[in-house]
């Protein structure tokens, strides 16, 4: 366990100043910033919305709508690939594999850093949604604060489900990124699957594609969108894919003949 913690700390340091690091920070505040600007430029609309008893749910929906279909899966594809590719890009696999760490520790600590970064993204995104709901009231003194109390439980539930739905993307991108030196391979695979998933959302068996779960989760939030909802529990499917991809990824990693 101590070995894992030390390895995790080491992996965490490596992401400092990388594109993946900035992707999490900028990506998490991007949509909330647009929503804040909307509130500032259209104060009357905001003032009317602030009186609603579903103010926060509406805000959450608006933010997730833009995020769930493309930006979130795309961000996960890019961040996972970038973090995993740090070793290839810097020619450091050989140094990492001659350090006194077991291969499972190296594998899990890298994966854990990506998962923690994903959690970090969700946390900052929710903070951003909250700020987008209060900043207009702070700027315009004549606009009241939202009357509805902030629904922590709803936010937590929705975020937790989106987190689970992202896990298959993380695991698959991790698998591909560990195998190929060329960054374009995981990126190409990720974008390809993402586009396929956007097309497949309306398909009866779209749920078989592991990249469809974020859009499905959003459609579940707004049934009025008329999406073709799968008959299966997509969150269990997401977890199953995550476990499956992670096991395959680990087996491929551990049996690699050349380790740097």
């Amino acid at each position: 366990m101590i070995s894992f913690i030390n390895s995790f700390k080491s992996e965490w340091l490596k992401k400092k100043g990388t594109v993946a690091f900035w992707l999490v920070i900028i990506g998490s505040f991007f949509i909330p910033l647009i929503m804040t600007a909307r509130g500032l430029f259209y104060p009357e609309t905001f003032a009317a919305e602030a009186k609603s008893s579903f103010f926060w749910q509406a805000g959450m929906n608006r933010n997730w709508q833009l995020m769930a279909f493309f930006l979130l899966p795309m961000g996960v594809v890019m961040a996972t690939s970038l973090i995993t590719q740090i070793e290839f890009r810097n020619n450091t696999w050989k140094q990492l594999h001659t350090s006194p760490q077991s291969y499972p520790v190296v594998f899990l600590s890298k994966l854990s850093v990506i998962i923690v970064m994903l959690l970090q993204f969700f946390l900052l995104f929710n903070v951003g949604i909250y700020l987008s709901g209060v900043i207009p009231s702070l700027v315009y003194t004549d606009i009241d604060y939202p009357q509805q109390a902030f629904p922590f439980k709803d936010f937590l539930k929705v975020t937790a489900l989106f987190f689970i739905d992202c896990l298959p993307i993380v695991a698959f991108q991790y698998l591909v990124s560990l195998q190929f030196k060329n960054f374009l391979v995981p990126l190409g695979a990720g974008i390809g699957l993402l586009i396929a998933s956007l097309i497949a959302v309306q398909w009866k068996y779209g749920y078989t594609i592991p990249y469809t779960y974020c859009p499905y989760n959003f459609l579940a939030l707004r049934p009025s969108n008329g999406g073709a909802f799968p008959a299966v529990n997509i969150h269990y499917m997401a977890l199953a894919y995550f476990v499956g991809f992670t096991i395959v990824s680990y087996l491929l990693y551990i049996t690699k003949r050349e380790k740097g």
């Binding site: 030390n6 340091l13 490596k14």
Partner: protein
């Protein structure tokens, strides 16, 4: 005691020819072992096998008297390495690069400035490693290898791309580490001249086979034994006959007479005898047989 013992190791990539063929290698504790061979001889493959970067296919590798595979983590705790080009995170500074490895090796905080000072990179500040010159990168790579005060240092061509003063600096640093801290060092190179002033033991590899392994002194003895003197005369046959009469082991090679290394006085006497027997002597010169030539002869054969 032996720090590294490689016994009967062979290796092939896919179904290609063997790149290592029954390699045996023995590195005594406290030595500086020069692992020499031309490019593509199998040096890096051997070192990668020793470090577990390649899966061993045949033979055995023992480090500190223990089989590597069964004791991988314990052994790697005592090894510092730099294989081929330095492994550095280009987006991090020198100190941040060291911090990455400090977490794993659990090296104390004061060790970071210490190793940076050792490789003269203390004043690089926040400059990213990606902006370093090749020499600075090599030195930082060595600093990473030294961070946890290893007992064995494995360096694969660490002076590649360095200017002459950089090579001297690295050489002096390694000598100091070996002398003051008793670190066993394996250093590979394709240039004997580059490391002959540094090493105590030598292993020469070519086309995947070990051609020579012994102390540097033994290699020097071989140099003396194989050195010779050329005689260029007007009548080589008559001169050869005269030398044989004087019990000198001479032979004709490429229209010159070659005799084994002789004392200066004996060479002068032979010259006098040749002239006295009306054989004109056009030239006498020693065979250029320095360590580099021995290395070339071993690797060319």
């Amino acid at each position: 005691m032996i720090s590294v013992k490689v016994t009967d190791v062979s290796h092939q990539f896919s179904n290609q020819e063997y790149v290592l063929n029954h390699i045996n290698l023995s590195v005594p504790e406290g030595s500086i072992y020069g692992f020499l061979g031309p490019n593509g001889a199998g040096k890096t493959t051997t070192l990668r096998l020793i470090l577990g970067l390649l899966k061993k296919q045949r033979g055995s590798i023992e480090i500190f008297g223990k089989p590597f595979e069964e004791n991988r983590i314990e052994i790697l705790q005592k090894i510092g390495s730099l294989i081929e080009s330095p492994s550095l995170y280009g987006h991090l500074s020198a100190i941040e690069n060291l911090q990455v490895w400090q977490k794993i090796y659990q090296a104390p905080d004061n060790r970071l400035p210490e190793v940076l000072k050792m490789v003269e990179l203390s004043d690089t500040g926040r400059k990213k490693a990606g902006q370093f010159s090749l020499g600075m990168k090599q030195r930082l790579g060595i600093a990473v290898a030294l961070l946890h005060s290893p007992s064995l240092l494995i360096l694969d061509e660490p002076t590649n791309g360095l200017d002459p003063s950089g090579i001297v600096e690295i050489r002096e640093l390694l000598k100091k580490l070996n002398k003051n801290h008793g670190i066993t060092i394996i250093i590979s190179s394709h240039l004997l001249a580059e490391i002959e002033k540094l090493v105590t033991n030598v292993g020469i590899i070519n086309k995947g086979k070990m051609l020579f392994e012994d102390t540097l002194d033994e290699l020097l003895k071989r140099q003396y034994q194989t050195s010779a003197v050329y005689f260029d005369t007007a009548n080589n046959q008559a001169a050869l006959q005269l030398m044989h009469n004087k019990k000198v082991d001479a032979r004709i090679e490429k229209e010159r007479i070659v005799v084994p290394q002789l004392a200066k006085e004996v060479i002068a006497e032979l010259n006098r005898d040749l002239v006295a027997n009306s054989i004109d002597v056009y030239g006498i010169r020693p065979l250029d047989n320095d360590l580099e030539s021995i290395f070339m002869n071993l690797t060319n054969n």
